[in-house]
């Protein structure tokens, strides 16, 4: 799956996007895979929301290989 990073998370990961090969996973599985590759994301987990294909993920959302996933840190538009 394609994973997008925004705002300060780009500095944490060193990139704006990456490809993650972790099959179909729930949010916990996705975070496990992300933290394995980017341990620096750990402090942000509690404040970051997940989005799947441009919609906020719900508690039952599953993330598959063809999905576009985004890590959404607290927003500050307007």
């Amino acid at each position: 799956m394609r994973v997008l990073f925004f705002a300060h998370l780009k500095d944490v990961t060193g990139c704006a996007h990456t490809e993650l090969d972790c099959g179909e996973v729930d949010a916990d599985g996705l975070w496990d895979a992300l933290l394995q590759r980017y341990p620096g994301l750990a402090p942000y987990r509690s404040t970051v929301r997940l989005a799947c294909n441009a919609r906020y993920a719900g508690p039952d959302t599953r993330f598959g290989p063809s999905d576009e996933v985004a890590l959404i840190p607290p927003v500050s538009g307007g």
Partner: protein
């Protein structure tokens, strides 16, 4: 409800407003969110915004549809600027056309609250005059 959502690097002040509507519209409310000269107590020359644009546009539309059920309005235009926005220029313009002012004010106030909670747009950097001058020298941008 007619909605028009635009995220752009263009100056918002130069973009056209919603089309004039005769008949049902008795109130037009306009809000401009303008970049201040200070951010977290530090003088700045500009703010830089970024967005997850497809999702931001969908979220704004979703919010407007949700709020429009409780606060029926005729037309809502949302313009949000991305990239570097100099002090004194608008980062966001929202125009609401409705039959009466109450609905327009209510929708506008609630929309701005929700935008700041849910729409994936970020102030990603506050630029000082010196930083801007270094970045754009000898380019055309000259912070005032």
């Amino acid at each position: 409800m007619i909605t028009q959502v635009t995220l752009t690097t263009q100056r918002l002040e130069e973009l056209p407003g919603p089309p004039a509507t005769a008949g049902p519209v008795g109130a037009q409310v306009e809000f401009l969110g303008i970049v201040r000269s200070e951010e977290n107590g530090r003088p700045i020359a500009a703010l830089e915004y970024e967005a997850y644009q497809p999702m931001a546009e969908c979220e704004i539309e979703r919010l407007l549809n949700e709020l429009g059920s409780a606060h029926p309005c005729h037309t809502v235009q949302v313009l949000h600027r991305l990239g570097i926005v100099p002090v004194g220029e608008a980062a966001i313009i929202v125009r609401v056309l409705a039959a009466h002012r109450q609905e327009a004010f209510s929708l506008l106030a609630r929309f701005m609250d929700r935008l700041k909670q849910d729409v994936p747009i970020w102030k990603c950097k506050a630029w000082t005059r010196e930083e801007l001058a270094r970045r754009f020298h000898p380019g055309p941008f000259r912070p005032s």
